[in-house]
Symmetry: D2
Subunit: 406 residues, 4 copies
Amino acid sequence: MSKIDKVVLAYSGGLDTSVIVRWLQDTYGCEVVTFTADIGQGEEVEPARAKAEALGVKEIYIDDLREEFVRDFVFPMFRANTIYEGEYLLGTSIARPLIAKRLIEIANETGADAISHGATGKGNDQVRFELGAYALKPGIQVIAPWREWDLNSREKLMQYCEQHKIPVDFSNKKKKSPYSMDANLLHISYEGGVLEEPWAEAEEDMWRWSVSPEAAPDKPTYITLQYENGDPVAIDGERLSPATLLEKLNKLGGANGIGRLDIVENRYVGMKSRGCYETPGGTILLKAHRAIESITLDREVAHLKDELMPRYAKLIYNGYWWSPEREMLQAAIDQSQSVVNGEVRLKLYKGSVSAVGRRSEDSLFDEKIATFEDDAGAYDQKDAEGFIKLNALRLRIAAGKGRDLI
Amino acid sequence: MSKIDKVVLAYSGGLDTSVIVRWLQDTYGCEVVTFTADIGQGEEVEPARAKAEALGVKEIYIDDLREEFVRDFVFPMFRANTIYEGEYLLGTSIARPLIAKRLIEIANETGADAISHGATGKGNDQVRFELGAYALKPGIQVIAPWREWDLNSREKLMQYCEQHKIPVDFSNKKKKSPYSMDANLLHISYEGGVLEEPWAEAEEDMWRWSVSPEAAPDKPTYITLQYENGDPVAIDGERLSPATLLEKLNKLGGANGIGRLDIVENRYVGMKSRGCYETPGGTILLKAHRAIESITLDREVAHLKDELMPRYAKLIYNGYWWSPEREMLQAAIDQSQSVVNGEVRLKLYKGSVSAVGRRSEDSLFDEKIATFEDDAGAYDQKDAEGFIKLNALRLRIAAGKGRDLI
Amino acid sequence: MSKIDKVVLAYSGGLDTSVIVRWLQDTYGCEVVTFTADIGQGEEVEPARAKAEALGVKEIYIDDLREEFVRDFVFPMFRANTIYEGEYLLGTSIARPLIAKRLIEIANETGADAISHGATGKGNDQVRFELGAYALKPGIQVIAPWREWDLNSREKLMQYCEQHKIPVDFSNKKKKSPYSMDANLLHISYEGGVLEEPWAEAEEDMWRWSVSPEAAPDKPTYITLQYENGDPVAIDGERLSPATLLEKLNKLGGANGIGRLDIVENRYVGMKSRGCYETPGGTILLKAHRAIESITLDREVAHLKDELMPRYAKLIYNGYWWSPEREMLQAAIDQSQSVVNGEVRLKLYKGSVSAVGRRSEDSLFDEKIATFEDDAGAYDQKDAEGFIKLNALRLRIAAGKGRDLI
Amino acid sequence: MSKIDKVVLAYSGGLDTSVIVRWLQDTYGCEVVTFTADIGQGEEVEPARAKAEALGVKEIYIDDLREEFVRDFVFPMFRANTIYEGEYLLGTSIARPLIAKRLIEIANETGADAISHGATGKGNDQVRFELGAYALKPGIQVIAPWREWDLNSREKLMQYCEQHKIPVDFSNKKKKSPYSMDANLLHISYEGGVLEEPWAEAEEDMWRWSVSPEAAPDKPTYITLQYENGDPVAIDGERLSPATLLEKLNKLGGANGIGRLDIVENRYVGMKSRGCYETPGGTILLKAHRAIESITLDREVAHLKDELMPRYAKLIYNGYWWSPEREMLQAAIDQSQSVVNGEVRLKLYKGSVSAVGRRSEDSLFDEKIATFEDDAGAYDQKDAEGFIKLNALRLRIAAGKGRDLI
């Protein structure tokens, strides 16, 4: 590694990344640029400014990226009905490429030669940040303090704070939680603590965004979601910006106990890990998108999307948002969405979301053909015989030659 | 078609198939063998005997196929976490190959040269019955009365009954429902009636197997499901036969409002169709199987299964259970399941099923490595740098050559 | 079927389709519009005019579709390195959607209510014509005489000619071959005759487009093919139109004994069939396209293309060119091709084509990194350790838990 | 890394690995066990014994692994018609897991705590050796000298020999080639030298196993290959062991100029690399296996295999032979092969191999159905209409609703 003059740090304003500021200054003798983003994590970002200033940072970036996050990352991902390992809605994964992109943009603006982040060496996030950074600026250097330093316990971090006179209120004592958490407009996640025992049930007071189904209202909430080109644009007839729409869905879902998930997942770095997630709005969006697609997408297009989806989800989970193969898949997915328009009516009730109605100008549902009643010749039942006979031909030939299936 | 002497009919004892008995006798001048199976549809099958006798049938088969159904069809399918179009648990589809197999076995035993069924020419079931039959006995002839006759309304059927003196109590008047229904141990389905309008919500009194989430108990039910080789074998420590286990899960799920589904699906014959389903036990099984796999399966095996699943689901939906390609996929799926052993703890509550704990002698979850605490060197965080650097190499080279991802 | 007033027939001018003209006139009492296309089959199309006139046809379409064929069908297909069942370059399959499209355009222009073609009821071509037609004009009617009439032998056809005074020189006696042949700019195919015995070797005098490797020149021919956006645009520096380029490659390949193929393939209608093919230019194009992609495409994009290709090939083989799923796949394929620019040097010699050199402004081949010599730090070999260690982690954990791979 | 007492080295007897013996002894102060395998590389392995002894090695393993190599690695791989990136027959890749397995077996027998190999830090082979080793013995340590030492040029190696009195005739001067080569029963490969410029044609005198097509006999050679369960068992009626059979095919292929390949491939470590390969026998086997499958495999099984193949090839290329996902795929592939029996007749001529005939007791080719002549009702052409109509239904509905494909 050549000498580093200036580094852009993804800075939350919390204890860990505040320590990193000082550690970077001391270890690399370099200038630190901080970057703090509002991606809907639910905390004020402006206070990060004073903290950074107190640490001697001169170039401070504080951005509201909520609309960009939902419009350019969350919505494109939901066009594919994306789920990792059958369960996980990729709430953390999808935010990382946006951070990586912004880190590189700021490095370009400020002439920095490195970026840094507070992700550990065991997790997926380091991979997502760094793959993105390298893909967007191949000569960039990356400093991952958690892989370099020996401050690998809370005690050592606190000691470091004292030694370096980093104000301890940076440590957000009030919020101190036994869990490692991550939040953005799409979800909040919990890892660590008692969750490290996969047999142990998560405690009720861990969950922050949703009431328990037990505590949800006794009456269902009905909403209508409107789609254009595969993206939701309105709730109950009210057009909303992407971030506002997702925020509102989070409220509606959370109030009805929707979107809790408790899984063991496979990390890209090779280990299994227990995680709990709350994704109220995302859970609704997945259900709604499938419902609007169910009447507007061609069957084979829908099936092709289903077969490509696990691979697309894996790309995002593993940190390859910024890759030509993700863009190639996205081209296919997006190509399919121009007909995905219409409305879905949803019932939210005590932890469940159901699609109870769907309609569209672009509907391919043909009541005249599908009906159990007389269809006036729209469909000739006799066609089915030839259809079956020829689909069976290869099976009949094989059976006739003695091939045995049982 | 050559002359038909004897035909085996899948006979429910209801109005439609009773008409078919007489129509076959009259139209083909052939002997009719009836076959009635208990696959858990929840109706007595023995009464079919007297009805068949009254219609002059001499060879009457009445079989209890519940254990075979769950053991050899439902469980193998759930090993793949099978879902069609992201939602449907294939309750109807998976029963058809068993019926087809039994029809052919009976044809072989009785020397029949044809089989017959009461499925319409618009649906998937005709395809499933007939593909199975042709695959198992290539020279068999198939009579599908609904594609041949002109009795295409209830009135004409009733008229036919009168003309041919078929007792009208065959028509099960009490049960007359506005929906076309199908049931077996895995599910009950509803089509037709008001459901033909996809925007219309299903009426509450349509559902038969589950209480509404609203009406479910206010306290959650916890159960522990034990797996061996990918199949569930015990509930709360009590070993149960496949059918008994599924039956119990249906009760547990139904009582907690679990397993309702309302979708528009794509039929193999080319049209979209609205269907509502109740699959209480199956919904629990899907969640539980994913949970036990989450700690026992290798990551890449799990991902491979996820990528193959949509194709496997489509094969079953389209009627290709009895095909060499399904058997080839099954070989891969089954090969992965010998390690899928252990226990899953589940919470059932007002329409939702959540996995809250999982444990196994075969667990690959390694708390020593996954921990957020000091791992005593079990994992070297510095390895991550090389991992990321080489995974990024192709991206860095491309970016260095000016390829632009944004 | 409702009454038919006017039908557009894909008319070759040969015996079979001439009989069809008269048979349509007689059987349906309708007007026949003939459509004859030059797609490079190597026969004059203009003579079809007089023949059609002689049969009383008033609206006669004769089109030169060679450029459209290569530009809009052959080239897009080769962007995917398309091969069916590992061997077949889809020469027949890819011409059919163009014919179907033109039949429908002419039906629209002439106000015809039906189309007709001379493909038999056993083959793939009927499916390709008709799926295309239905997809482009859903209300169109299709008349497939070979599925309807009983003129199913040469003798009956000749007899029909006599009865209906169809000039027998329509039967192209000179060219009478024991094989059923099809030709266009991409290939010529042979079926039937002795080929119906898959153990019998094709006779040397069957092949028409290529010399035998034995008869090819003793010195290799070298050519350089230039690509832009995934399509070939020049040979040895000479820019050529798509059709001209393919024509020239056919000559070069044919002269060097390149592109013969003898296979048993699986038809969509369910049977296996023996076919022999000559695809001289296409064989060269496949090799060249892979070679130019090998230095310009990202690895994961290339692999994704390889995994999608069999499905894409199957779509084309089965007749689904005009389908939303083919267009979705095409979007992904085309998205990958903007970087596929550069030159490939090829050696043609006695039946073989080899890529011996490739270069491109868009090359991702990085000699500084790939070199066996000192790379001046372009690649840090120590990165490989972490890369391997983390890729092995899941395997090490599993082995540590006693999982056995041997 | 803990202290190493004994290391098993994959030892060729050449200069590089001889230097490694001494370097390991000096650097780690450990005992070295050498392992030299005959996998058909065409060099005597016995001389390695004296060289190892001269270096003070006490435990020397020299194994003839040729039969195991072909039977348990090459043949299973060819059952899948495996090709990497459309061209490469994986000759190097498939030998590595066998070496890894044997290294671990010897480590277990000798109580060694580490293995070592002579692969560089830039290539795929280090990955293949090490992934295999970790997967089979998770606690094993790996020493990869090329990633650790600074002897990264021929001069430094020679200097090291002098300093450490390693006899310089170990360097195989006679064979000194400008290329980096690797050979085994399946192939010989060439990298480096002028090949590092992808535009430069490989020189004729580089190739060692095959005559040039120009120099091949003017008359074709015909052979018949017999298959059982997907593996070749006899040539021209003579049953041969796996290794003997492949050896003979190499001679036949090489004599006819078959199996040369010149490509740029994508390495797992992220770079593109030029390689030339001679795989005479393997090229024949690929053609022959596809041919025997073409008449014995069900269509959908064949297509499923084709879709899975690229992923299977990638696993082997990347070093994941010893992985549960490869074994899962192998289970599917092997399940399909019990019917792959019969004979293929092949023509070898001046660089080309063609299948000219194929026959089998298990053939699904049905001449009665496929025939262009009268089939006596074996196939009802009228079935095709219904087949096409229903396959077109979704397309017709979409077109009827105004969806536009052009």
